[in-house]
């Protein structure tokens, strides 16, 4: 009985993981990819951990799985926020189909502080040049 519940939880979690990874490949720009991937993969992995906890309900496995799930729920949105903020500050533009950009209008009216890098035109050379400290 508990095996069946664990299998159902793990199967649903796997499905959400795969949706997140498909979103990571299909969506058009960094911010949309962060959204899809973070939401889906966080909940999917937490469901897999919950399935593990249900499966090993008697041992130390379930306690550690619960600790890991809490840790993922706490830190994964923080990582997404940090990446999105870093991407905006390093000059990645929004997708052309975006309808509004209040952050750019109100916080960075003169554009991001770093040099603007066109996503399509970026090559290995510009990546290497971007690492130099800008004065």
């Amino acid at each position: 009985m508990s095996d069946l519940a664990a299998e159902i939880l793990i199967a649903v979690g796997l499905a959400f993981d795969l949706f997140g990874c498909i979103g990571l490949v299909r969506l058009p720009d960094v911010y949309n990819r962060v959204q899809a991937a973070t939401k889906c993969v966080t909940l999917g992995t937490c469901l897999i951990l919950a399935g593990t906890a249900v499966y090993g309900i008697t041992g130390a496995m379930s306690i550690k799985a619960a600790l890991c799930a809490v840790f993922l729920l706490l830190t994964s949105p923080v990582a997404a926020h940090a990446i999105a903020r870093g991407a905006y500050k390093s000059g990645v533009r929004l997708w052309e189909g975006s309808v509004i950009d209040r952050y750019g209008e109100e916080v960075h009216p003169a554009g991001p502080p770093a040099e603007r890098i066109e996503p399509a035109a970026q090559t290995e050379h510009t990546v290497a040049a971007g690492r130099e400290p800008h004065e």
Binding site: V78, H81, P133
Partner: protein
Amino acid sequence: MQGMSLIVKNITRVVAGFIILFGAYIVLYGHVTPGGGFAGGVILAGGLALVVLAFGEEFARNVLTHDVARLADSMGALLFLLVAVLGFMGGVFFTNFLPLGDVGALLSAGTIPIANLGIGIKVGAGLFGVFLALAAFRRATSGGSAAHGRLP
């Protein structure tokens, strides 16, 4: 080194204790579970590096400076050597001189936990020192105000 945004700082407040505690757990239970001194030391250094990344200079200046990292590094090495030399008193380098205890308990396996502790302290302090040194080195090469290669 400035800190990151409010969200990262606050979650670091909640999580940093758990990370360092988990590193200590891996070090101290290295003889019972997988892991050991090196892996636990890496986690310890990672936790300290996370705190410095999130809070910036205010933590590195107040609590953990280069000197503290250097001291802990030497202390770990000395602890490890002490275990080895005390075994040498019994005849052979690294001979066990403590009772073996029950299999699976924390107080077992003779001198292995103490050697693990030494390795953990050494690796953690060493890697954290490398992190601080790299940060200071970038400051020195990028022509910042503190160009003497050390964190203030």
